[in-house]
């Protein structure tokens, strides 16, 4: 059911909620019926930006589409935010990383099976963002799940030359 929201407010909401930039096509795809034309979407975005004169944010056009971001000049205050939120890494984060390192290439399903809990998508996203892991392919099973593996950057971070420099699990097992 369509509650008949104005086009520009739907675009605004979508850009605000999306984690990634949205292309004109992405935006058009949000609509089942009354799909707006690309031109209409462009116009709506211009209109929105005009309205943002008295706001701290704007819509900008980057390589992969449009994205909403805070205007320049606020970093003095906002940069304090990100400092607070970083560097708290959970057990779940470490365990997920370690399973990818030792069992690679693995799917999320594999990680779930070992840990016995659902994989937190945020953790995978963070690991990819850090470039500690990447998608190296897809498994040919239903759903074609992504195969995850660690990167060189991961090794660099831990000063390892190769994965075989990781502590051998057999020794750990004895201690455990």
């Amino acid at each position: 059911m369509n509650h008949a929201k104005p086009l520009n407010l739907i675009i605004e909401g979508a850009l605000l909620a999306s984690e990634n930039p949205l292309s004109l096509q992405d935006i058009a795809n949000l609509f089942d019926e009354n799909k707006p034309s690309k031109n209409e979407i462009k116009k709506a975005i211009d209109a929105l930006n005009n309205n943002y004169k008295n706001h701290s944010f704007e819509i900008i056009n980057v390589a992969s589409g449009f994205r909403m971001q805070v205007k320049k000049g606020y970093d003095n205050w906002i940069s304090k935010l990100n400092k607070q939120s970083s560097t708290r890494y959970s057990k779940a984060f470490l365990e997920t990383l370690v399973i990818i390192a030792y069992k690679q290439p693995v799917t999320r399903g594999d990680i779930e099976e070992i840990r016995g809990v659902a994989v937190n998508p945020q953790i995978i996203r963070n690991l990819i963002e850090f470039e500690w892991i990447k998608v190296v392919g897809h498994k040919e099973t239903p759903g074609k799940p992504e195969l995850l593996a660690t990167t060189k950057k991961f090794l660099d971070y831990f000063n390892l030359k190769s994965l075989s420099d990781l502590p051998p699990p057999s020794e750990l097992e004895l201690e455990a």
Partner: protein, 264 residues
């Protein structure tokens, strides 16, 4: 195809296009349908509530005899079908039997202090019903990513600070120990505990194939790595094939061997 819906507490099973709301008495019940009916009960209390609701009777005045009979019927069916029957169901069956027998004992004069043998069960059923209702209400509360969406991660024009976590190798080791311990509980899953270099090579080869499509088998090897390197590469390729992550193709005998993504 068997499907089932749970709408407002109503149980309905669609089997072969027919809606089954009850378990018919004399008819053969397709095992799949029965399984679906039974699997959606959250336990003996849930099953009892279902039976009570089906009979349209008042929870505070349960006719213990028919309900007990029906309950036992279900349990028997489950056992005949060799379901892994949780022991909780059996405990409830004996509780019901006990209440039934206590109800049958004729009362003497001192029935004043005699408590209704059903009282405790009724209390539990009502308590459970309360939380069951609440859980349905909770399910309807607007929740994140379904009904409401956080405005998230709009990175300003700020230089993204290096928000890399600080972890040392020791922490990784500890995490892995945890995982190993856990893995023992999930005994069906065996953690690969060897040949990390093979695992690493698997990722590398997979990554190359993922980027380039088909590659030559021979290109996976480099002379500089020597004999050990070649063995590691070879093992990695075998493992990738075994795990159905890549295909090996050769058009004719003695011709070039290629590695390619799995074609389904």
């Amino acid at each position: 195809m068997t499907t089932f819906n749970v709408n407002n507490n109503d149980t309905s099973i669609i089997f072969n296009g027919k809606t089954i709301t009850d378990i018919p008495e004399d008819l053969f019940i397709p095992p799949e349908a029965l399984r679906v009916i039974i699997e959606q009960f959250e336990g003996p209390l849930d099953l009892l509530l279902y039976l009570i609701k089906k009979q349209n009777i008042d929870i505070v005045d349960i006719p213990i005899l028919p309900i007990t009979n029906q309950y036992v019927e279900y349990i028997n069916m489950m056992q005949q079908m060799q379901f892994e029957l949780a022991s909780d169901y059996l405990v409830m069956a004996s509780t019901l039997a006990e209440i039934k027998s206590r109800m049958l004992i004729p009362h003497d004069g001192e029935e004043e202090d005699e408590e209704d043998p059903r009282a405790n069960l009724i209390k539990r059923l009502m308590e459970y019903q309360k939380y069951k209702n609440l859980s349905q209400q909770l399910d309807e509360i607007p929740r994140l990513n379904r009904d409401t969406f956080i405005v998230s991660k709009i990175l300003a024009n700020i230089e993204k600070k290096d928000s890399m976590p600080s972890i040392d190798l020791q922490q990784l080791e500890n995490a892995f120990q945890e995982v190993l311990k856990r893995a023992e509980i999930f005994a069906s899953h065996e953690i690969q505990t060897e040949t990390l270099s093979v695992r690493e090579r698997m990722s590398l080869i997979l990554d190359i194939i993922n980027m380039n499509g088909t590659i030559k088998f021979i290109d996976c090897f480099t002379y500089r790595e020597g004999r050990m390197g070649a063995i590691v590469t070879f093992l990695a390729i075998l493992e990738l094939v075994k795990e159905c992550l890549i295909d090996i193709v050769q058009n004719q005998d003695y011709s070039m061997i290629y590695l390619q993504p799995v074609t389904s």
